[in-house]
Subunit: 351 residues, 2 copies
């Protein structure tokens, strides 16, 4: 079924590109089940890629190099990247989705540039004001999806409502849950909490006739509890919440390590606890949650963390395969249509 | 030295008041070192308090009940609470600081009402636009201070700059660190990141001639790393970051518990690891970080978490004692003066 799933990969994006990109694909092909039949269009400097691929036989057998001369710097400003973008590895990675050669684009490069180029090349879905970046978030039962985690620092109520629709379709199609619950991130769950934007988004989601399972406001601690599937927020708050959780997890990891090496007996005892603790660590490993999905475009673009390693890049490839193999783009079209029908009808009633 | 440190306590605030308030004082007096000489003005319903105090001899010996007829409901709107506020236990708790009878006020009641009343009764320090709530945040080396964590959902650049000054004075006087570092919470550390408000706050903190150890932007994951002492943000973001971290810590705690009961061997081994893991848990126990301090008023008011238990309430009492025994109010006056001198001089230079 997966034969012919083609992923377009920016080989030059990320702190340790192109090495970790090729190592990531190699790791993915060795370990991934569903993605084994995938093939890769790899965009980048052929002279740098050829020796790496010579050492990565599984990847070599499955990929095609598309040579590009130039690269977007990790610290380039989006506007500058746009002017100089054409012909870069990042540009060509996205363009392969536009042309239909690939189903999904993946880059670990500069987030701002990737978003700006994706908007320019793929264009937003009709009626979507701004795309959002969706991140998966581990919780007790599995994981939730948080959006936006960095594309839009300031959002109005309509944008937040659109994020709810985008996130819901994403969760529903990828994780096969019929009516995923949606919450709006706020400083309290009482209906009077929050600023005017959040209040307005809450009102319009509460009154919507679209079949959304909107459960109201949720708080920061609810994200990890697993009581809500899709958490909607602006890109500023979402980004800070995500990184705060990562930092907290890392801190506790260090405390645990210290605790298990506390004294002779605890060191010995730790040997028996290690396998289970390692499994736990794996459940929280941020590398396994790598891969932010740009939602709201005519095509799927995935952003890997710039500083990730091969295992992290392989996780982002997993997300790419899941997206390529899903009906997300059709689903989102259907829900957006319903949303805009509702807006049209609303306008009729307003004097 | 601590003789005569008088703390004004709202006995009726909190989900399980007045029981946990009295139990909290009792716990505090049993366990606290520095606070043993403190005395308490307890505001609330005498009929409810008398039987509790009969069972709490240490507290009874150290406190004076001030009877009040009425109470602010936990879900009251601040405006409503203000109109009906006079004569409630919360009002009288704050008024005792205004009158000079007590050095610090403490309540586990409704946050919005407590802030509104505190502003009305104590007034803001000259030149402060809005008070902030400061929370302590555990990290690798000890803890940092994050503000605002919920008083102001939207803040302009001047307010963020004031929070930096308030937080710095708080950290410096309480934790005896000469030049605590200050960071501005943002979605990235590069100087171009963030919205206009954050950019303006960054510029004014960077150019300030006041002796602040401002280190620039910090990200969510930096809070737990301990590389920065005072983290400045608006109340919306701060509140969500704080609760997200709490939720993450709770989730990992559950995972650890599960991991240690994984099988027969890990259960036995866990016995040897438990003392160290318990110490670790204690370092992260949110009850031990209970007690948000209202900064920027002519007097100190402390907000305990409404749902805390006796141990958590005792932690907030510890903060109250530390504040009562500090030179914070003088220090903050000095730094605010420097800040406003700078603003005055700036105005001269602007045509």
């Amino acid at each position: 079924m997966l034969d012919g799933l083609i992923i377009s990969v920016d080989a030059m994006g990320g702190d340790d590109a192109p090495d970790i990109v090729i190592a990531g694909i190699e790791y993915f092909l060795k370990h991934a089940g569903a993605g084994r039949h995938a093939r890769f269009l790899i965009h980048g400097d052929e002279a740098a890629l050829a020796p790496l691929l010579a050492k990565a036989p599984k990847t070599l057998a499955r990929c095609e190099i598309r040579h590009t001369e130039s690269v977007i710097a990790m610290d380039a400003k989006p506007a500058h990247a746009m002017r100089r973008g054409k012909g870069t590895s990042m540009w060509n990675t996205i363009a392969a989705v536009k042309s239909g050669e690939a189903l999904v684009a993946l880059s670990a490069g500069n987030t701002g540039a990737l978003m700006a180029m994706s908007k320019l090349i793929l264009r937003m879905k009709e009626g979507v004001q701004r795309p959002a970046i969706a991140a998966r978030w581990p919780h007790q039962e599995g994981f939730g999806v948080v959006l936006d985690v960095g594309a839009n620092l300031e959002c109005d109520a309509n944008q937040l409502r659109e994020f709810a629709v985008l996130g819901e379709a994403y969760y529903r199609t990828l994780y096969k849950k019929k009516r995923p619950s949606i919450g709006l991130l706020n400083v309290g769950t009482e209906s009077l909490k929050g600023n005017a934007t959040i209040q307005a988004a809450h009102d319009s989601l509460s009154c919507s006739k679209i079949d959304l399972n909107y459960i109201g406001f949720v708080e920061g601690n609810d994200i990890s509890m697993g009581d809500v599937d899709v958490i909607v927020t602006d890109g500023f708050t979402g980004n800070i919440a995500l990184k705060t959780a990562e930092g907290t997890a890392r801190l506790i990891g260090k405390f645990i390590k210290g605790a298990l090496q506390d004294n002779f007996f605890s060191k010995i005892a730790a040997i028996f606890n290690l396998p289970a603790l390692r499994r736990m660590k794996k459940r929280m490993d941020p590398r396994l949650f790598n891969g932010g999905v740009f939602l709201g475009l005519n095509g799927v673009v995935i952003k890997s963390h710039g500083g990730t390693d091969a295992i992290g890049f392989a996780s982002a490839l997993n997300v790419a395969i899941e997206m390529a193999d899903s009906t997300f783009l059709d689903e989102i079209e259907r829900t957006l249509d319903a949303l805009h029908d509702e807006d049209d009808n609303l306008e009729i009633h307003i004097p």
